[in-house]
Amino acid sequence: MTDVPQIYRILPEVILTITGVIIMLVEPLLAKNSSRKPLGWLAVLGTLASLAASNWQLQLPAGTAFYGTVQTDAYSVFFHVAIAGIVLATLLVTLDAATAETEGLGELFALICFGAVGMMLMTSGIELLLVFIGLEISSISTYIMAGFRKKSAKGPEAAIKYFLLGSFATAFFLYGIALIFGATGTTVIPAVAGLLTSSQTPILASIGLTMIIIGLGFKVSAAPFQVWTPDVYEGATSVVVGLMSTAPKAAAFAVLLRVLYVAFPALHNHWQPLLWGMAALSMTIGNLGALRQQNVKLMLAYSSIAYAGYLLVAFTALSQDGIAAASFYTVSYAAMNVGIFAIFSHAGGMGDRLTLIQDYRGLAYRSPLLGGALAFFLISLIGIPFTGGFFGKFYVFASALHSGLVWLTIIGLVNSGIAAYYYLRLLASAYSKPVHSDLLDGIPRVSIPLLFALLLTVATTLILGIVPGRVLAGAKAGANTLSPAAAIDIGGNTDAAK
């Protein structure tokens, strides 16, 4: 285990950091009016390399590095690949949406790379302070990205809101770490479980865990910490929303899973009810809030709240299947969400010209390709079979029901039924006969990068829906490293574990 050079354990992060730094250094050297797009292609190359490196990490024997703060295993690789994939698609979409007038494009590319580094560190970090650092790197990048639309008042407003409220939530996270350290004397996640049993002050550990749940709950916009989401999504440009509704959330969920299942399986009777309530609340608030939205981004903001709820359902299943389902659904949600925001960003440009559902009326007539892709992603979000969205949801609820969570399953599936309504409004609008609209006339031709991005997201969504075997195996392997079957052997009924 020790013969593996330590740097290999963080190779993807290192590659992306170098890429980001190069971009930052080169950007001021470029002529003021010259295109920044080559920097984007550089970032794409870096991301591809990082993706390959993550995949290559599977060859390494599972193990830790840097004094036991970083661990590469099937679980971390799974999320690394997911995050790299999201970043790759986002970069391609940015390349498509950017025009000569777009300001600060170079910085945006660099920030995307740096944010990805933070997120990747979160998923491979097994030391809470390192995880915190990763969280901060990713958060600060996203705060800035949220304000990317500097010309519109909404951009900076979103950034400020996100920053203030995010800091508030991060404080909870940090305080939680402190309390856990107080209770157990360690911040290494795998060590917590063992020390917890001998802790003199288990109540502290418990409160500390709740604080971590609060902090991460904010990041994944789970109710009741979802309030920031719609405002920030509305203000940020579509490209950024596509990224920040998927990658940081995937990372935060990965951390939460690791903390809950590795450090605190013993306290599951404490955290399971909390997550149960958060899941039910998130699904309901998310879907009801989205019902009457006219603004597509607000609608998807609420839908992402509901998505956090669905994922938390898998958390409460207390089984390996639950962990695997959560991991799997993260990926499938990311594919379709990045895809749908790619369409919004192409149609609306960096300035988000098309905001309302009715603005998209007749899109399918104007551009069958965009319309078809939009329809496909919406169908996946609704949860129609043979798409990743369905299989993810299906797997989540199958694992929940297998653990006897009948009511949560019913709440969830009825919610997904209601959710169909708002997705359908957009779908029906895109497929209604067009009225003459300058907005649609302004949509540029589909560019090569966008085509790649759509191909990537559509293919992923379709593969996850029809032949999910490989990804499923990856998710299961990850779940297995996280919590070998015996860790919490709950099965049907939580009382049986006592």
Binding site: L209, T210, V227, N269, R292
Partner: protein
């Protein structure tokens, strides 16, 4: 119409055969079927059998009467068609009376032949035949409808059990041959009476019906208007059904309850949705407040729920 016998002879002859068959004269087809039905009604163990037989007999006479009335009025006597139609006849076939093309005559001829000989397959025993089709439908009439239990029992035990359900019951009591013969004579006689009156009214003394109608005007009006049954149906059944369907079922129930119900459910959900949306004030202090409340709720739950759930 009237006096068409010479103009459309084929139609006349085929119709003649049909008239005789329907009226039930032997050896035409109608005789055998009618005779058999009346006979079975008469010998039926059911107490209503005799009454039904009588009603049947009476209407057989009436059938004969109106069929021959039709026959006489159409084919005999003077034409009652308007003069104009007759004038056309000379120079164009458009409106004149003429024989139909062969495509219509051929089926007529086939049907006419059948109405003559068609009954011979069922000559009852009383008249020296052996009714070929008497038992034609008996498999259908005696088939039982098996319930799931019966089928399953049958399948699990033996095919013979199925037969138990499908065997026809023993033959019903049958009357004697002489009775059947007598009844046949009676029914033919009644048909003949019908023919006789038709001949009297519409051939021999064409003025008689009008005189008769004048004498019993009320009855005639009743008959002419088909007992006002249509009007009665209209007022008692059709109109109320239409009104209830239109206003109560369609207007009130389908629009109100079925459509309205689902709409109400939809609006109620959306109403809750707009309440949820109201949290989104855009005010950052209120957001921080919500965050704090949520965090406080979770922490309180943890603190007070902790003792109960401690599982070390």
């Amino acid at each position: 119409m009237g006096g068409l016998r010479k103009k459309i002879p084929v139609t006349f002859w085929t119709m003649t055969m049909a008239v005789f068959a329907i009226s039930g004269f032997p050896p035409f087809a109608g005789f055998f079927s009618k005779d058999e039905i009346l006979y079975q009604a008469f010998v039926s163990p059911n107490s209503l059998g005799k009454i039904l037989w009588f009603v049947g007999l009476l209407t057989a006479g009436l059938t004969s009467f109106y069929m021959f009335r039709l026959w006489y009025l159409t084919f005999f006597g003077e034409s009652r068609a308007p003069k104009a139609a007759h004038d056309d006849h000379g120079n164009g076939h458009a409106h004149g009376v003429h024989e139909s093309p062969w495509i219509m005559l051929a089926p007529l001829a086939i049907l006419a032949v059948l109405s003559v000989i068609g009954g011979w397959v069922g000559v009852p025993a009383a008249l020296g035949g052996h009714s070929e089709i008497e038992h034609f439908l008996s498999p259908v009439m005696h088939a039982q409808y098996l319930s799931y239990e019966q089928v399953s029992v049958a399948m699990s035990t033996h095919p013979q059990v199925v037969a138990q359900f499908t065997n026809p019951p023993s033959e019903a009591a049958e009357g004697s041959k002489s009775l059947e013969l007598l009844l046949a004579v009676v029914s033919v006689a009644v048909a003949a009476i019908g023919w006789f009156f038709a001949h009297l009214f519409y051939f021999a003394k064409p003025a008689l019906p009008a005189q008769l109608a004048a004498k019993v005007r009320g009855l005639y009006a009743l008959l002419l208007n088909k007992y006002w049954i249509d009007e009665l149906y209209g007022a008692v059944i059709v109109t109320p059904i239409l009104l209830v369907s239109r206003y109560v079922l369609k207007g009130l129930f389908d629009t109100g309850v079925i459509t309205g119900g689902s709409l109400a459910l939809g609006y109620a959900t959306q109403g809750v949705g707009s309440v949820v949306q109201r949290i989104q004030s855009g005010n950052i202090r209120s957001y921080a407040g919500w965050l704090a409340i949520g965090a406080a709720a979770l922490l309180l739950l943890t603190y007070f729920g902790f003792g109960a759930h401690l599982t070390f």
